[in-house]
């Protein structure tokens, strides 16, 4: 293949794989938004904490797979904690205080991580072999494949659980109409708590699969939150498949523009996309228009 075209393909493939990581983090926004109509602006920090917990567990000799489970357990607890401590009260009072509160919890998480684990970026060791796989000249590493498979797998599992389990259906019911759900005997607060806990677990899981590619440090969340938020807003807050497409698209565009225009321009297309989406389709490209009856 022509080396130029090969280079573009390589950049696109790398970007698309990383884009799935954005989609997974964005999915965390979607989960909490569905149930409580609030999102965690500290979602990226949960990813970071999950990565650090996983890294610490592998550090004491626990295998990678178990460290993922451990990180997810901590993530579940943290997601639940954020909802109980910051979001529930604000929503009860019908104000937007949860925006600030989740940001504050995120900042607190960064300081805590700096104090516990230090400010250095650390490598996250993974069990599979080093090196990369070659598809007709395009190199893909095992950690990248893990991101893609893990992100898709986690989203598919949660989507199935939402449709086929009692808990999932309860959450959907609360999402559709909390008052009607209460009348059917569903405790809407429990359903909201559940969705935040699942969102926390997804974030921690994302941390353990992103960490091996990006290294783990207290500041790894900053860029991730912004990009995941762009993906969530552009795709809309109620379509998982939309997130996957938007994530792949954003990752690809970002990498290609960095390649074509110079590395300083990497972030620009994502932001332009965000502005366009907010201006032209505020409900998201894949979103349904919500008509609020007042």
């Amino acid at each position: 293949m022509n080396p130029e075209i090969l280079a573009y393909t390589q950049m696109a493939v790398s970007g698309a794989l990383m884009g799935l990581a954005y989609a997974l983090v964005a999915y965390g926004f979607q989960l909490t938004f569905a149930a409580g109509k609030a999102v965690n602006f500290g979602q990226g920090e949960l990813v970071m904490l999950g990565a650090f917990v996983g890294l610490t567990l592998t550090g004491i000799g626990i295998p990678y797979w178990l460290s993922i489970a451990g990180a997810m357990a901590v993530g579940t607890g943290l997601g639940w904690f954020v909802e109980r401590s910051a979001v529930r009260l604000a929503l009860k009072q019908h104000n937007e205080g949860w925006i600030l509160l989740t940001i504050i919890i995120g900042l607190f998480a960064v300081s805590a991580a700096e104090n516990i684990w230090g400010r250095e970026d650390k490598p996250y060791p993974v069990p599979w072999q080093d090196g990369s796989i070659d598809f007709y000249g395009i190199s893909v590493t095992w950690p990248e494949i893990t991101i893609a498979a893990g992100a898709l797998g986690a989203m598919i599992l949660i989507e199935i659980a939402k449709r086929c389990t009692m808990f999932g259906i309860a959450v959907q019911a609360v999402s559709a109409d909390p008052d009607a759900a209460e009348l059917c005997g569903i405790r809407s607060t429990s359903a909201t708590s559940l969705s935040w806990a699942v969102s926390g677990a997804a974030a921690a899981f994302a941390g353990t699969i992103i960490g091996p590619v990006t290294t783990v440090g207290p500041t790894m969340a900053a860029a991730l939150t912004l990009k995941a938020f762009s993906v969530a807003v552009v795709a809309g807050l109620d379509s998982a498949i939309g997130l996957v497409f938007t994530g792949i698209f954003l990752g690809t565009v970002e990498n290609l523009s960095g390649f074509l225009l110079g590395s300083g321009w990497r972030e620009t297309p994502g932001l332009i996309l965000l502005i366009l989406a907010l201006a032209l389709r505020p409900q998201g490209i894949f979103g349904k228009k919500i008509i609020r009856k007042v």
């Binding site: 280079a7 230090g118 970026d121 590619v213 390649f259």
Partner: protein
């Protein structure tokens, strides 16, 4: 009334004791990044200097005009951030009793902060920051007298060696990768001017930059690869250098990576893992106990700090030797006054046996036209190091004799 009087007496006693201690100690500040991406260098420099100071204090201190004075250390973490570094410099220069400063890892901090020391005339030994700009900012402005000295192989020397090495390895087409800090940009310029000076034996086919915190270098490396670069000349710090090494491995792009001494940082070596093997960089010190001169220092450092590998051996040895040189200058000056210490540093008469070499008059009087006047290191002191299985070893084993000899 009584209480009043005793309070006054207490105050008087307190102020007396304060002045007494102030007169008996020499205050030296150590500054550098003790956290963040350049922390291995900052911490090693600080710990190396503290080791020398502890050894001096153990012998009763520095003999200043017949009086033994202990050294008191003031430590400040500049976090490797330019604005924070400027604040630290401001703070230290406003303390009236600091005799000298050793430190600074990040060239940008030297540019932002050293003017405060120059204004107050406080002696500063820059170590281990290597960026050319931290000294040329004074020579280019034609400043006639500065109290700033450097104790590190500056980038002029390093870029010369890097270009020579690339030529030696048979590369004809090279790519330059650098970070977008003052250090990276001035390193790029040094490389370009060295390539010109050495007769354009290398053709630069790609110049790519990256930002602090970037993890994915695929784009920059793809460009270098497409352009057919046979070697990568690189100027950056640990975490990003590691990302470049991993990216090279991912793309199966097996060309030599040659760069500034930062390729010896532990956070490069550890993060890159096997991908970092073979990286080449100039070194003033190699952590190798079979080098007789280096052995006592290496053993003392490992014992005191409980490590079996120094995070940045070059920084540690330079911190150690610079503290010894400073102590010698204070002794020679017979005073803790910065202006007299500065004069002594410019004309050291004694020989200082350091971990790197026997230092004889490392610095001379400042001359803006002579770029070596306040620089301690020369090309001949510096060797090529290579990353090999988690450590830095000599790229050319024949250089061991050079490190062992008294080179001055």
């Amino acid at each position: 009334m009584n209480a009043h009087r005793s309070f006054l007496a207490l105050l008087l006693a307190f102020s007396c004791s304060a002045t007494a201690t102030a007169a008996d100690v020499v205050k030296i500040a150590l500054t550098g990044p003790f956290s963040g991406g350049s922390a291995p260098m900052g911490i090693s420099m600080r710990d190396g200097a503290k080791l020398a100071i502890a050894q001096i204090n153990q012998k009763g201190g520095i003999d200043v005009a017949g009086k033994k004075m202990k050294i008191e250390i003031i430590e400040r973490d500049d976090e490797g951030k330019n604005d924070r570094g400027a604040l630290v410099a401001q703070e230290i220069s406003s303390m009236n009793d600091v005799s000298a400063v050793i430190g600074t890892v990040n060239t940008g901090i030297a540019i932002m902060g050293d003017k405060y020391y120059v204004q107050k005339g406080i002696v500063k030994i820059i170590s281990p920051a290597a960026g050319s700009a931290s000294m040329t900012q004074w020579s280019k402005a034609g400043i006639q007298d500065i109290p700033i000295f450097r104790f590190a192989a500056h980038d002029g020397i390093q870029s010369q060696m890097v270009v020579e090495q690339a030529v030696k390895l048979g590369a004809r087409r090279v790519a330059i990768l650098h970070d977008d800090t003052n250090y990276g940009v001035s390193g790029r310029d040094d490389l370009l001017s060295q390539i010109r000076n050495q007769g354009e034996k290398l053709k630069v086919v790609a110049i790519e930059k990256f930002a602090i915190g970037d993890k994915d270098m695929t784009g920059q490396l793809m460009k270098a690869k497409i352009a057919g670069a046979q070697a990568i000349l690189i100027w950056g710090i640990g975490p990003e250098l590691a990302a470049v090494a991993s990216g090279k491995k991912k793309l199966g792009y097996n060309v030599p990576m040659i760069g500034g001494w930062t390729l010896s940082m532990s956070n490069f070596i550890d993060t890159a893992g096997p991908a970092g093997n073979g990286a080449l960089m100039p070194q003033t010190f190699i952590e190798d106990e079979s080098i007789a001169r280096a052995k006592p220092f290496i053993q003392a450092y490992r014992k005191v700090y409980g490590v079996n590998r120094i995070p940045s051996p070059v920084s540690a040895a330079q911190g150690y030797d610079s503290a010894l040189l400073l102590a010698e200058a204070i002794h020679q000056a017979g005073s803790t006054q910065p202006s007299k210490i500065k004069a002594a540093l410019e004309n050291l008469t004694g020989v200082v046996k350091g971990a790197i070499t026997d230092w004889k008059k490392p610095w001379s009087k400042w001359d803006p036209a002579n770029e070596e006047s306040h620089e301690a290191f020369r090309r001949s002191y510096t060797v090529m190091g290579k990353v090999e299985n988690g450590r830095v070893v000599l790229a050319n084993p024949g250089d061991k004799a050079l490190l062992d000899r008294n080179r001055n």
